[in-house]
């Protein structure tokens, strides 16, 4: 593998931050404009918990003034990676890259030594998410647990009450697994609903998305078919590597990116469609991930240009507005997934889609682009901060009096759904594409 990393002072361990082009670190001129947009700084008002503070720590490592300590690693994992600072930064600091490199630095320094943490990371990052078939098997087992009544039994019999609080919380966070995964709902090749294909696109079905939101994948397919797209959806797609890159497994992320490029050569498609904000935000940066890979770089560059978030793509191809005889009025509010608005600068398109749905009244959510706390697996590893953010989000949602909260990322959907369920509210959570697909279906039924 082509890995060119600077050696750290001990001469053994490669240093990601030292290997980084110094101008990326130097770009931050510590003006502080990121501070008010950072959820962790907002919570603690400690500079260490702010973007410019974290960059200062990274720079200290790059300068050899600090080594990657446990405190440094903890700090990098306290960051949500919401990228709100990138939207706020006039200087254009590439925080996403810095943050991923810093986590990689922390991992390669092996300063977070808890055996449990290492075990979990090994099972998930290095085993489970390396082969989608394994994830599907796990999904089936979880589905069994949920449908055989075992889950209900365990919850009722009080055994969970004996478990430590953390484990109890985790159990309650297990999402409902779909009866059918994407490959059972979506054919490898689907033609437009009517007429000749105007575009040929690939549909990425995701990892967790495939198990928990295969219905959103099907909705995405239908919406694409409604808009003249021929859709190629290979079964058993590999993980895009977003999870790995965000969690310091830089080398594994490269392996997964190459797999993706092999499976879906970008020159065969007009666009490569993702409906998960977190994946999209990573998928668009394969070229920087593979910049030292002469074999894949050109393909990665083409890929980056063709990856489109579904909202972005629909607006780009001027999607057709569904018609309705008797529009069903629903008050909808929109929560911006961080990796859509901050990670991909997509803010108006999801709103345009919602506004185009007959009967959909869009009401703006206060602080719509403030992280809900989901942040990948953040809600599992940093539950306290994640729950504070969730409470803040729920209060804003309540203030809108909306019936439906739309958001374009599985993590946010699940996290907010959990919060809503705990409140005992009947608020509906939905991907904007699901709402659009429903409108097309109602139209087809002549409603």
């Amino acid at each position: 593998m082509l890995v060119e990393l600077a050696k750290s002072r001990d001469g053994e361990r490669p240093s990601y931050l030292k290997g980084l082009d110094y101008s990326v670190v130097q770009q931050c001129m510590h003006c502080g404009l990121c501070l008010p947009t950072c959820p962790t700084y907002d919570a603690t008002q400690l500079e260490r918990n702010s973007p410019r503070g974290r960059i200062a720590l990274m720079r200290s490592i790059a300068d050899g003034e600090l080594t990657a300590t446990e405190t440094f690693a903890d700090e990098m994992y306290f960051c949500l990676g919401c990228l709100a600072c990138m939207t706020a930064c006039p200087a254009g600091v590439n925080y996403a890259e810095l943050f991923e490199q810093a986590r990689a630095e922390a991992e390669s320094a092996r300063v977070l030594t808890s055996p449990w943490r290492r075990f979990i990371r090994m099972i998930t990052l290095n085993w489970l998410f390396m082969d989608h078939a394994r994830l599907q098997v796990l999904g089936r087992l979880m589905r069994l647990y949920q449908t055989t009544g075992l889950q209900g039994l365990i919850r009722r019999c009080g055994i969970m009450e004996l478990m430590p609080g953390r484990l109890r919380d985790l159990e309650s966070m297990i999402p409902e697994i779909q009866p059918n995964f994407s490959d059972e709902l979506i054919a490898p090749r689907s033609l437009p609903k009517s007429g000749a294909a105007r575009y040929r696109v690939a549909l990425l079905t995701g990892c967790a998305q495939d198990l928990i939101f295969s219905d959103v994948n099907r909705d995405t397919l239908e919406v694409l078919q409604e808009n003249g797209c021929e859709v190629i959806t290979p079964a058993n797609q590999p993980c895009c590597g977003s999870l790995h890159a965000h969690n310091g497994e830089w080398e594994t992320a490269k392996v997964l990116a190459r797999r993706q490029l092999d499976l879906l050569p970008p020159d065969q498609f007009d666009a490569i469609i993702t409906n998960a904000a977190g994946c999209g935000s990573h998928l668009k940066h394969y070229a920087s991930l593979l910049k030292d890979d002469p074999v894949y770089l050109a393909r990665a560059e083409e890929w980056d240009g063709k990856v489109k978030d579904i909202h972005e793509w629909l607006v780009e191809i001027q999607f057709r507005q569904p018609e309705a005889k008797r529009p069903e009025v629903q008050l909808v509010t929109y929560h911006e997934a961080c990796h859509l608005c901050h990670g991909q600068n997509i803010t108006s398109q999801p709103r345009d889609i919602l506004k185009a749905i007959p009967g959909c009244e869009l009401t703006e959510l206060p602080e719509s682009n403030w992280c809900c706390g989901s942040a990948g697996i953040y809600n599992i590893v940093q539950p306290e901060m994640a729950n504070d953010l969730l409470d803040r989000k729920l209060a804003h949602i309540e203030s809108t009096r909306a019936h439906v909260v739309a958001t374009g990322n599985p993590g946010c959907l699940l996290h907010i759904q959990n919060g809503v369920r705990k409140q005992g509210s009947d608020l509906r959570l939905a991907h904007p594409v699901t709402l659009l697909a429903e409108a097309y279906r109602r139209e087809a039924h002549g409603e």
Binding site: S23, H30, C31, G32, P36, Q45, A56, T71, P90, G92
Partner: protein, 460 residues
Amino acid sequence: MGLKNQVLQALSTRLGPKNVLTRREDLIPYSFDGTAALKQLPGCVVFVRSPEEIADVLRLANQTKTAVVTRGSGTGLSGGSLPSRDCIVMCTVRMNRILEVDERNLTLLTEPGVTTLDISMAAERVGLFYPPDPGSMKISTIGGNVAENSGGLRGLKYGVTRNYVMGLEVVLPTGELMWLGNKCVKDVAGYSLKDLFVGSEGTLGVITKVLLRLIPLPGTKKTMVATFDEMDRAAEAVSAIIAAKIIPCTLEFLDRTTIQCVEDFAKIGLPLDCEALLLMETDGHRAVVAEEAKAMAKICRQQGCRELRVAKTVAEGVKLASARRSAFSALARMAPTTILEDATVPRSELATMIRFVDQIAKKYELRIGTFGHMGDGNLHPTFLTDERDQKEMHRVEEAFKEIFDEAIRLGGTITGEHGVGLAKKAFLPRFLGDTQIDVLRKLRKVLDPAGILNPGKMFD
């Protein structure tokens, strides 16, 4: 060396261990402020929540001769809140309550850690207006604004922070607490000590409460953007507007480089092919705003402006102004290090000064972006450089020396709004002269006999 253990112990006992940071990873993020190329690790960082805590910290510092550097959000641009070696950084961001908005006296009483934006919004909620709007207002604290006497985009018509400070609560370096000023519009009892503390850059005392003057919120405003093919014409247009006895609330300019960076960040459709851009804003009564806007548009056209765009809505105007506010940080897109100055000249000398800055950049082979508050003669020439290139950094220093000399020769000042801090310290004695520096030294010595507050800043 580090701070003495007994000092850290005492701080920890008084403030609680959670409010005293000593770990290296905690201190590194406090080793700078908004100023480029300045860095110094403090001995510790403490968070204070009341005047009493501040007084206790200062008494302890006085007894042990420990340096104390007060800090808000650390956005200053002259190194004013840069730590000194082994000092206590005293952070006031957690004193963030607005204590009172008095609509009958048009005043606002606040703790020092409240952000400028929060103050401005609190005033607006009751139809009042706090005009000073420094570029970092979203995060800068009012305590820092008062200590640095911050300016902003509206300085031309509304003045700077000093013009809005009616009262201060201050803790002296020796630990005594005192109130300066009050809610009276007229008050001539004794020396105006409050004015001594405004702009004292944390060298004379620690501000624990601020009483601000508010004014009625202007009824409406209009924002315009004019573009020019030559910087000179833009400067002439500004002079002509002032000469026509119009004082707009904002009269800002950006040069070509700055326009490109700002547009790259804010994406608001600024024209990229002009040499200079004027951002003009007039506010007040509807009729006056309409008349002034018309007159300014006419003057710009007479000066041969290429295009004149009027913001259709207030929201669009706000967007343009906030884009301008990001100019300095946006320039960082161009180079690893951006070094910003704020030489200021009488308005009549603006065109001369702008030409001079241009010549200097050529002479020293430096890249430069210039923007600033053209209406009040406050320029922000910004050198785009790389702090690792020592030769170029030396040329930058030489260039600045010449710029300051020229500003002084034209009757201007070495700093219009950023303060002296460390960045301008070397230039202050010559600018003020021996007598004035001597008076300043004596004053400081009286208030801070042990020399613990922000030592090494402003002057020695």
